[in-house]
Amino acid sequence: MDFSLNEDQRMYVKMFEDFCANEVAPFAQETDHEEKPPLKQLKAASEQGFLGAIFPEKYDGAELDMISYALLMEHLGKACVSTALTINVHVALVGSAILRHGTDAQKEEFLPAMAAGEMIGAFALSESGAGSDAAALRTTAQHDGDRYILRGSKAWVTNAGIGQLLLVFARTSEEAGGKGISAFLVDVDTPGVKVGYREKTMGLRGLVTNTVYFDGAEVPAERLLGQEGQGFAIALEALDLSRVGLSAICLGAAEAALENGTRFAVEHEQFGGPIAYKQAIQNMIADSRAEIEAMRHLVHFAAWLADEGDSRLRTQAAITKLICSEYAMRIANRMLQVHGGYGYMKEYAIERIYRDLRAMEIAEGTSQILRFLIARDQFAPHGISLRP
């Protein structure tokens, strides 16, 4: 056992800190208040190679291990959750799927362009009738000679409004559940693809999330990712990695909340001294600090499992995301309380962090679905096979 970061990782941390302090944190408030897509942050990130963070160098990636990637997401999450999630979807959901399942030609076509930020990846899985029950999706891809014809619509497609590349999951056969689903790499400019309504959300207001319509969009057969029928497995595998990234973002945002709360408790005086001297405040700070340390170890462990290619990652990613999203939310809630009335005002970062984090218990698997996955894994060896 060795809990220290290696030399490379320590160097990256310094780099991430500088990058976030200069290129991300200063714009977090305007990104939220003006609901501005974080385009300039993405451009800066591409210059550092962060948009291809886990891609191999031969595809212009930074070839980071997952622990380093988690450190990147932690720092981005600390600075601006909207920016961090935009990048996590691009890298860990879309990029990782291409990296693992793409042909050489697909990798060459997409990964360098993604790393350069010329192409931003969007993930199109959910539909209005298929959220937690993702395998119930109804978008179809009809095989027709050397192409597929896509029909249907996708909801909550993160990055669709700023992305060039949609990773679309569609049904290629009537086989029930996940088995009939295939994954496609679809250019957003394809005739018959329409990026619709941008969701107006409570937080994550820099994130661009849209409904996307497919009305007979023709996709060349070479844009099929993996094999026919493999789509759902590809989605789940990508979600394993993105849940690690998302958990790291929660960790970073919780750290930002704690820093803000701590500073406020030191500076704000009531009853003749800083409120830091009140036990009620101390308890909120202590619980938050303790929970952050637990989150950090969960994140690093899950990232390490990913690096090791360990099959325990599936359940551990669910555990990590469940704990990190719920802890982060309650830490933000406590730190908002420490701020008193100020915490309810948009001038203070904690107000934004609180709204941003409320999405985390829902996005990329609700807490309820994650609990189901964990319980199913727990009961499986006992001859009980759980169905949702």
């Binding site: 959220g131 119930a136 409570m202 937080g203 005086e269 009140k278 008193g340 005002m345 999405a359 309820q368």
Partner: protein
């Protein structure tokens, strides 16, 4: 013991509920987006007597006591927290201070137009460095012949931007502190030297204006001293006690609305081939919400009965506010969770309700202050004096 609501109060509830559904609910989204409760709504509410529910009829009120007022706040709280906040700050604290400690002349002159809704009231206590520690205020009132010269600024004042008449707490003798050194005044905002300062940009209750109020050498006649000279702190604390009961009622309404929406959505939303209400995770959330709501309802209405029957109620009022705000936040967060991603969208009401609810844990005395009030009251009977 008889928990039946008297017939006339049932009728009152029906009248308010109809008004809330027909006149307030349809505007709730607009109120949030446009950051204003239309004056027309206030005017119509006033016509029905809803701006002066707890006050005696001889002063233009409805004479329905705290019970009637809690019914009002519960029903309005169900449909629009911003509107409930405007009415609450007006009736429950702004005008309430005048009702509790005003002279017959003051009540005739000020309470009457307020109770009729012809004028709007606010309650000005908080300052930049005097939030939880209300006794640390610095606004000064210096005697000048038969008048007082009022100078200072108040912060986070609900209804600040629209108030005509404000109950203001100021220091009249810095050597005495809260015991004897602070006096309450009734101030008309159109007097020379009164102005509205910075208007806050908030997470929620965006239709209820919150602002700074600036008093620059405002001449206040001594007839406008509210309550006894030097006893302003007592007047204000007494007022806040009453306000906390009805705030608990507004939270009850918000929590109830969250439960009702959760039930409807859980019935309507299908995942995994069945309505999500058939999942125990959802059933438990609904059962917990319903249980907490019933406990809160009993607490609020019993406390209203204590107010109306002249029993000491300080401890219970603090419990109404503390428990009410936490139950509301919890229930509404669970409603968001049941709605899933849709609950995070500003197109659905639970999103707004989530942002709106968070302030109730902070304003009119943070929940930390409520715990101090409750613990102090309990320990006082044990002969122990608690200092914050």
């Amino acid at each position: 013991m008889d928990f039946t609501l008297p017939k006339e109060y049932e009728l009152l509830r029906r009248m308010i509920r109809d008004f809330a559904r027909q006149e307030i609910a349809p505007l709730a989204k607009r109120v949030d987006v446009q950051e204003e409760v239309p004056r027309e709504v206030i005017r119509k509410a006033a016509e029905l007597g809803m701006m002066g529910v707890p006050f005696p009829q001889e002063y233009g009120g409805m004479g329905a006591g705290e019970l009637g007022y809690c019914i009002l706040m519960e029903e309005i709280g169900k449909v629009c927290t911003s509107t409930a906040t405007v009415i609450g700050a007006h009736t429950g604290i702004g005008a309430m201070a005048i009702y509790l400690d005003g002279t017959p002349e003051q009540k005739k002159k000020y309470l009457t137009p307020l109770a009729r809704g012809e004028k709007i009231a606010a309650f000005a206590l908080t300052e930049a460095n005097a939030g939880s520690d209300a006794a640390a205020i610095r606004t000064r009132a210096v005697r000048d012949g038969d008048d007082f010269i009022l100078t200072g600024s108040k912060m986070f004042i609900t209804n600040g931007p629209i108030a005509d008449i404000v109950s203001v707490m100021a220091v009249t003798d810095p050597s005495l502190g809260p015991r004897g050194g602070i006096t309450a005044f009734i101030v008309e905002m159109d007097w020379k030297g009164c102005s509205v300062g910075k208007v806050e940009d908030k997470m929620g209750i965006r239709g209820s204006g919150t602002s700074e109020l600036i008093f620059n050498e405002v001449r206040v006649p001594k007839e406008n001293i509210l309550g006894q000279f030097g006893a302003g702190f007592v007047t204000f604390m007494k007022t806040l006690d009453v306000g906390r009961v009805s705030l608990g009622a507004a939270c009850l309404g918000g929590a109830q609305a969250a439960l009702e929406r959760s039930i409807q959505w859980a019935k309507a939303r299908t995942q995994f081939g069945k309505a999500i209400v058939h999942n125990q995770s959802i059933q438990w959330m609904i059962a917990n919400m319903a249980t907490e709501i019933e406990a809160l309802r009993s607490l609020v209405y019993r406390t209203a009965w204590m107010v109306d029957t002249g029993q000491p109620f300080t401890r219970y009022a603090a419990m109404c506010k503390l428990y009410g705000s936490e139950v509301a936040s919890r229930c509404i967060s669970q409603a968001v969770q049941i709605y899933g991603a849709l609950g995070y969208s500003r197109d659905v009401e639970v999103e707004r309700m989530f942002r709106d609810a968070r302030i109730a844990e902070i304003f009119e005395g943070t929940n930390e202050i409520q715990r101090i009030v409750i613990a102090s009251d309990i320990m006082r009977q044990e002969g122990v004096r608690i200092s914050p």
